[in-house]
Amino acid sequence: MTAAGDRLGPTLFERSRPGRGGGKVPHPPKDALARIPAGQLRAEGPRLPEVSEPELTRHYVNLSQLNYAVDTGFYPLGSCTMKYNPKIDEWAARLAGFAALHPFAPDAVAQGTLQLLWELEQSLAEIGGMKAVTLQPAAGAQGELTGILMVRAYHLSRGDTERSEVLVPDSSHGTNPATASMAGFKTVTIPSAPDGGVDVEAFRAALGPRTAAIMITNPSTVGLFEARLCELLDAVHEAGALAYMDGANLNAIMGRFKPGESGFDVMHINVHKTFSTPHGGGGPGAGPVGVGDKLLPFLPSPRILREPDGRFRLETVGERPTSIGRVRAFVGNTGVLVRAYAYIRAHGASGLTEVSEDAVLAANYLKARLSDVLDVPFSRPCMHEFVASAASLKAATGIRTLDIAKRLIDYGFHPPTIYFPLTVEEALLIEPTETESIETLDAFVEALRLIVAEAHADPDLLHSAPHSSPVRRLDEATAARQPNLRWSAMTGSQTPCPD
């Protein structure tokens, strides 16, 4: 067994021994059980593992050390912007004035937090070229829903009740059609042109009096700037529809392209991608939404207002009847927003522009260096990410993108996004971000070069990869077909890592 394999070790349930525990918590009085009404008592005790505190600590610390993270290595996960998050942002979020503020604190004692959030709204509005921003949505997907609900409110406010369709390019994020459906619209998919942009002919054919909005991700999911954007947005507005910008790829364009100035009416921002807040994991997130003049009246309430005397307050209930209402408790996930604020203020305008320039430079460097290793379907310069493909390698050797991804783990890299976008066969979506050194990028190229050589010389080595990870290749198909989510003691063939 490898060192990692040892750490995978038995579960807490298997380590459990009757009567073992921490024992430092004050014991309840002897008659505690008698004080609880008989009907509320459990028939038997909960079947929780009984382990000592050091056993518990070691179990979780060892598990945590199996984790692959941006803090341990290169993580070029396309469409996800896995940049390194500066630790000073964590410091800021932990300041007691922010972290210990009670959510029901009256405005008078929450001035610091309200000011920070108000200033963050101003910064994000400037970055996006938008008139105003709401920080309420708890994630990008909720931001999308908030944006499209405002679009719906806008059309209805004008008595325009026939707009039932949202146009979504086929290269868009899966959340876009899901958002349109959730908001009660029918999704109309627009195909891509061969150059990776939106097919303008198909777009014009679909656009009409039933169109409520188009949702565009720019740069697109194949990492390309939408070259016909002005033409698309002019046509959208001529048809009386609105333009939604999915800001998932904002890391490519800061300081260079402001979506609001190009005609977008609404956009969301994924602060966990561009502004260094933690990624997912089920924890709190934030998906601020920016709007132009048309949607300003419909922003969620309560907005954060600055009074003429410089004090800040939250809107009161019913103060702005055109609002679509509240989309999140309180004012959003404040701890996450403090990190985004710290990141923006630490960089400043010129620093954020440099972030995007370096992200684009790194992606183009990798793309150029990999162009004789893998297929690169779109030859024009990319933005912050690019698509490679193993289609030719598969035809020659039978090695698929999945095999390459698994083998990259053996070389110490997190694999890029694979099989997305769906419009490219055997796709790898690679996003290096601005935070990686040229030595790291070169090492990644060298690993892929070696893997392609292995594909020709020893394909079985790739079929059975990874070889050095805590668990070997997982059977994703069986896991999805027969999801067995309940723990039971591991025996024989079920034991992971048999070697």
């Binding site: 099989y419 769906l422 066969e425 994703e476 198909a477 999805a480 077909r481």
Partner: protein, 126 residues
């Protein structure tokens, strides 16, 4: 080689016409592109379906895709075995992996679909 006696759509469904009945499935090419299929959702019996509209869902380890009706008609049978063994779509797409039987609403619709030669030309381009 794809079976010569079937008709095909650009969305990679196949249809076998017998009298006024149509058997529907997805092609080997579609199954290969999707990867290991893990879940299938089929329309309820008796439902009227319209040609080229989404009537079901196919989920693979890679993606969730719509199943489109290649022809209009009424659903008279669906392959219940696929719920326990969706992998039959990968292993035998033209046989045990069939998905629906439809009672045709318009016999001429099937004639307008691609034949085997035209479908092979389509997948060769891709």
């Amino acid at each position: 080689m794809v079976p010569q006696d079937l008709r095909y759509t650009k969305d990679h469904e196949w249809v076998r016409i017998e009298g006024d009945m149509a058997t529907v499935g997805i092609t080997d090419y579609a199954a290969e592109q999707l990867g290991d299929i893990v879940f299938v959702e089929l329309p309820e019996l008796g439902r009227s379906v319209t040609q080229f509209t989404a009537v079901g869902v196919i989920e693979s380890v890679k993606a969730v895709s719509d199943l489109f009706a290649p022809v209009s008609g009424e659903v008279v049978e669906s392959n219940a075995e696929l719920s326990d063994a969706p992998e039959m779509l990968n292993s035998d797409p033209y046989g045990k992996g069939w998905m629906l039987r439809l009672k045709l609403a318009d016999l001429s619709q099937a004639d307008a679909l691609m034949d085997a030669t035209a479908y092979e030309a389509l997948t060769a381009e891709a």
